[in-house]
Symmetry: C2
Subunit: 319 residues, 2 copies
DNA sequence: CTGAAAGCGCTTACAG
DNA sequence: CTGAAAGCGCTTACAG
């Protein structure tokens, strides 16, 4: 353990083995293009193991100019369970390439400084749409900014299509779209609604933001209008729609069929359980990681093809 | 902007102002115990602003031996919505003290290296119980390990007490405890159950892990035994219990009262909505941050008093 | 009270 | 093919 209370450094190893620090660095990093005698290599490795050598990451980052950290900025979407799985996959993929993934979300309290300022990552990967100010701030920090063109939200455009098609299959001609009341989701509501209209082949699809307070009124009104199928922004909204229908004495799915989105944990828990759209988050995570790795590699800036996000209809009791 | 394509350094500022780099550092960091003429101070600040100076964090960390990063290891608990709010508060508190908070959870894929190895944080704050191996790994990384004595789970011991008291108030003499099937929560199930028994004043409290599959059987059996009140591990379990009761044709809360725990988002969404226990996560977050700051401060290692976690009963329709 | 100098622990062009 | 030397951008004891 060399000197007590101090971590071993490359200098310690170099001195013990009787080579230069450069050689130690080459061996430890498997630097390509270096020819180290297998004897020296073995002795360096042995000594490193003996003293429990652990490189100082800050020194390495300072010398190499790369921190090995990729920061991912999570969108302000109410889909944490989805993001988790996606992050797991992205982290694993990045790890194989020698990067470690740190995640943050933007809706932190106002005082805390964004992590790209305090972590100095090599790259910042954004899932959702970034404000111009944040984008500038990231550029200024020196990190490479990687954001999917148009934002990741467009990746799931086929969700509403699938929802509508399913209700059609079930024989529901008159449908409505239930939007979320979550702040900041307005543009996403509109995007989904537009998809629903396109899939339904008409602009005359009733729509409303559905909240715990207004759900009975909205659902009741739709029922009176002859609506028998409701496409929901997500499973939380679907839960409200189903709850309201039940309170009104309607049968689900007989009087009103409801389809959620995201296959959130509550979808299977509810009674009746929710039909919904499951997203291939593993594929998404893998794609984001590959995008970051490609952008960080020295080669010519290869454009990364937009991913094909797998969406799958999960049929349960509510439809 | 000094030289194009390169960030300004303290050397650039020092040269422009005509002072040493040390002076620049003293001014920029407001280093106590230094006497800098206000003229010099102003000129350094002005130049720093002009060139948009941003310190290199890796260089700073290497020189100072402190990274300014606190890593918080999230427990593998199914309470993400709670942790989020707690993290917000902890991050804000740490930020004021000059630290930035990074969070990770342990159930990442096996290949990804833990963040304490790749980030070299000053401290690692653990919320839940850490495996001995992880604890050793953290120590080895050089980070200061901060873990609440006995784990944070003990902080909420009074939750079950409140649940039981509430059902008693509602006139339910015969109660049962519904445990969660989530892997790794066994010890927490047992802890909660022990609390329930203590609060009920008897060891004869029926208990069972409740899953989507067995819920109707379990609830039906309890009903036949004369149980009228169910204390649940959390709101997800409560949702299962309520759903099962409804499927069996029981009225909630008339035939069976159910109390959840955590006040998760679904608690208010469900029909009937769930009575539950709300946790003062803001207070918790603040406490964890203060603990870390105290541990990191140079002063004598002051023992941090265990926090008083506020728990509040939220009465809704299910009880 | 001030600032020149040493040093933090690495990496990597470059000279041998 | 090898390794001595310079350098990354800061901080901070220490000498003036």
């Amino acid at each position: 353990m060399t000197k007590p209370g101090r971590r071993a450094t490359t200098a310690d190893i170099a001195a013990a083995v009787g080579v230069s620090r450069a050689t130690v660095s080459f061996v430890l990093n498997d630097t390509p293009g270096q020819t180290i005698s297998s004897d020296v290599r073995a002795r360096v490795l042995a000594e490193a193991g003996r003293v429990g050598y652990r490189p100082d990451l800050h020194a390495r980052a300072l010398a190499s100019g790369r921190s090995g950290v990729v920061l991912i900025v999570l969108p302000d979407w109410p889909v944490e369970y989805l993001l988790r799985t996606m992050l797991d996959e992205a982290a694993a993929t990045l790890d194989e390439a020698g990067y470690s993934l740190v995640s943050m979300d933007l809706r932190r309290s106002i005082h805390a400084r964004p992590l790209w300022e305090t972590l100095q990552p090599d790259a910042v990967l954004s899932i959702g749409t970034l404000s111009a100010e944040h984008a500038r701030s990231i550029q200024r920090s020196g990190a490479r900014l990687i954001a999917p063109t148009g934002g990741a939200e467009h990746l799931m455009a086929s969700g509403p299509m699938t929802q509508v098609a399913h209700l059609r299959d079930r024989g529901h001609a008159r449908i409505a779209f239930a939007a979320t009341a979550i702040a900041g989701m307005g543009w996403m509501n509109r995007g989904r609604y537009a998809e629903v209209q396109a899939a339904a082949g008409t602009n005359a699809v009733p729509t409303s933001v559905v909240t715990a307070d207004n759900a009975p009124d909205v659902i009741g009104e739709w029922h009176r209008q002859g609506i028998t199928g409701v496409v929901c922004f997500n499973d939380d909204v679907a839960a409200l729609a189903v709850g309201a229908a039940l309170r009104l004495g309607l049968r689900v799915p007989d009087d009103l069929a409801v389809v959620g989105h995201d296959d959130s944990p509550i979808a299977a828990l509810l009674f009746p359980s929710l039909s919904t759209i499951r997203i291939d988050v593993v594929g998404l995570g893998h794609h984001f990681a590959r995008t970051a790795i490609a952008a960080l590699s020295d080669g010519p800036q290869s454009e990364v093809a937009p991913p094909t996000v797998g969406l799958e209809l999960v049929v349960r009791e509510s439809s």
